[in-house]
Amino acid sequence: MKNWGAAVFLPAAAFALLVSAPAAAQEKTGNKAGFSIAPGTARIVLMRPSVKVGEQSTGGMFEPNADWTAQARENLGKAIAATQGRLGNIVVDYEEPNGADTAAVAEYRNLFSTVANSVITYQFFPGNRLPTKKRDDAFEWTLGPDIAALPGMAGNDYALFITTEDHYGSAGRKAAQIFAAFAGVSVPTGVHKGYAGLVDLKTGELVWLNADLKMGGDVRTAEGAQKRVEQLFEGFPGRTGIPQTVTAGN
């Protein structure tokens, strides 16, 4: 019974003290075998990124910060355009439709999240692989070809989905971490996770996904956002003739 109330009341506070990160054996990147971006300029539609930035309170609660999130949104947008520009690709922001089509777009956004989470759970953890995902070169995931029919997709080659979430440890959280270390208890501070995926609009296939639960780069600054974006694009499919890996981190 001890501390049960605490656990029910605030899982973040209670579990943060008990659970250490188990993500060691996880793979981060998956590519469809043999896929490379066709020669010429690829037009990539960037779906509205999901960006969340805030502080982590002493008890582990997320405190959303509107200014940091707005800064991160701007910094990440610039860094994405710059990084893809160097690869010879053009990134355009997705123009969200009005009226009846909004529901279809929202559904594809949700579908992508579901598929990406499935990849992370059933492919990136080797011990947890589904039988159909056990071949080494198997990376077969799709959103279905109809995604190309969404309004505003015509004339583009790929759709890019990006999600980042950052909880920066507050001063109180860091102090608690130090005190807890003396007491022999591990209090992790900060959450920095993100994932990015590329969908081929000709087929609807997910051709690349990169997911990282411990990302670097402070998205609140331009340089940090650049570093974050380089990590997000780890393993991004190149063109034939260009080295496969774009940037191996920083």
Binding site: G5, A6, G59, A66, T102, A103, A176, V185
Partner: protein, 392 residues
């Protein structure tokens, strides 16, 4: 010994949190209406962060297929809100009616109001709907999301320090802090109830309606429990981990407060029924799928009063056919027949009648009803399935 010192410091911190835990039980007078500020913008870091989060939630909700996109319905609910809280207050509120059977509504700090269809199915008139919407608007006007967030953060901060510095003495204290956080939430609910009642008192609606909602909810819970062979319990004191006061508490203090300052008014039942008529079939359909025979039967009786409309008779037939005991099928067939006799227009009544009769060993009559169904609706989704039943 370090533990004891830290524990003492923690007790001091807890003492600051406790008044909220102790307060709450006594009946309060309806709160005076706070002054209203138009186009309020969030100010502090916490408040702006919270608004940003719910702005994102609202973007998602706006595009959700669960939202009933019927402007007439939304305008009507907005109209009830406006008549309850006043025209100046209600205008900035965005209302989303969500197709969901829960008896619920909520309002976010940025002015997004979510109304579940289960609420619309259960309230009887505009005044009862207004009392729930006014309660939610009270949360909004008193900035309860923000204050609750801050209170939970403080509580979790203290608990973390306790867990680190006084791991052996902190258990009971941590429980106390958690309890205070829930008590704080119950206090907010009561404040919102009282402010909601003030809106209702200032509106054309009678404030006595507020308690009706909770009294009928208790009766429905009783019926659900009886239908599931369970014992219903209504307590006056809330549980340790309850975020809301109990229904009995709320009904009691709302009834008392309304009795102290009685204000007669028109609850606008006829207008409410007329507007909901178009949505009733869908809402009833959802409710029947809950497999809650007792609660649904109670609800149908409440909706019918002493006048069973064809629509309600059809729904009752569906409910009995779903439970499917041999005696239920006999009753179901009767309800369908009454519905048809009273002029129920949909072909699905013939379908329900036919299926009920066939399973009650009245094969010939059942077959005739199913043939009628296919004649009325030849392109029904289950036409081929039903025609095999007819053929056998």
């Amino acid at each position: 010994m370090r533990g004891t010192l830290a524990a003492r410091a923690a007790i001091a911190a807890v003492a600051a949190l406790l008044p909220a835990a102790i307060a709450g039980a006594e009946v309060r007078a309806p709160a005076p209406l706070p002054p209203y500020a138009q186009a309020y913008e969030p100010t502090t870091v916490d408040e702006r962060g919270l608004w940003m989060e719910v702005d994102e939630v609202e973007r998602k909700l706006r595009d959700s297929r669960f939202v009933i996109k019927d402007q007439k319905l939304v305008d009507y609910v907005q109209g009830v809100l406006c008549r309850t809280v006043g025209d100046d207050r209600c205008r900035a509120v965005r209302i989303y009616v969500v197709r969901d059977t829960a008896f619920n509504a909520s309002m976010a700090p940025n002015g997004m109001m979510v109304v579940h269809s289960g609420l619309l199915l259960r309230v009887k008139d505009e005044a009862e709907l207004g009392s729930v919407l006014g309660h939610e608007f009270g949360h909004f006007e008193l900035r309860h999301s923000l204050n609750g967030f801050k209170q939970r953060r403080t509580a979790s901060d203290v608990m973390t320090w306790l867990a680190i510095l006084a791991p052996n003495t902190g258990g009971a204290l941590a429980t106390g802090i958690a309890g205070s956080a829930f008590a704080f939430s119950r206090g907010q609910e009561q404040d919102a109830d009282m402010l909601g009642l003030s809106y209702l008192a200032a509106s054309p609606y009678p404030s006595a309606s507020a308690a009706n909602v909770w009294e009928r909810l208790m009766a429905e819970q009783d019926a659900t429990a009886a239908g599931r062979k369970r014992k219903a319990q209504h307590r006056y004191s809330a549980g340790f981990f309850a975020s809301h006061p109990t229904e009995l508490t709320r009904a009691t203090y709302l009834r008392e407060a309304a009795a102290r300052a009685p204000d007669p008014g028109d609850a606008a039942q006829a207008a409410y029924r007329a507007t909901m008529a178009a949505f009733l079939p869908d809402f009833l359909d959802d409710q029947i799928k809950l497999n809650d025979f007792g609660g649904t039967e109670y609800l149908l009786n409440q909706l019918a009063g002493d006048q069973w409309t064809p629509q309600l008779l059809y729904a009752r037939g569906e409910l009995y056919r779903q439970r499917g005991n041999p005696r239920d099928l006999v009753s179901a067939a009767q309800f369908y027949q009454e519905a048809i006799a009273k002029g129920y227009a949909g072909a699905e009544a013939q379908r329900g009648l036919g299926l009920s009769l066939m399973r009650s060993q009245q094969v010939e009559q059942g077959r005739a009803a199913l043939q009628e169904y296919l004649k009325l609706k030849p392109d029904a989704a289950d036409a081929s399935l039903i025609s095999t039943l007819v053929a056998n």
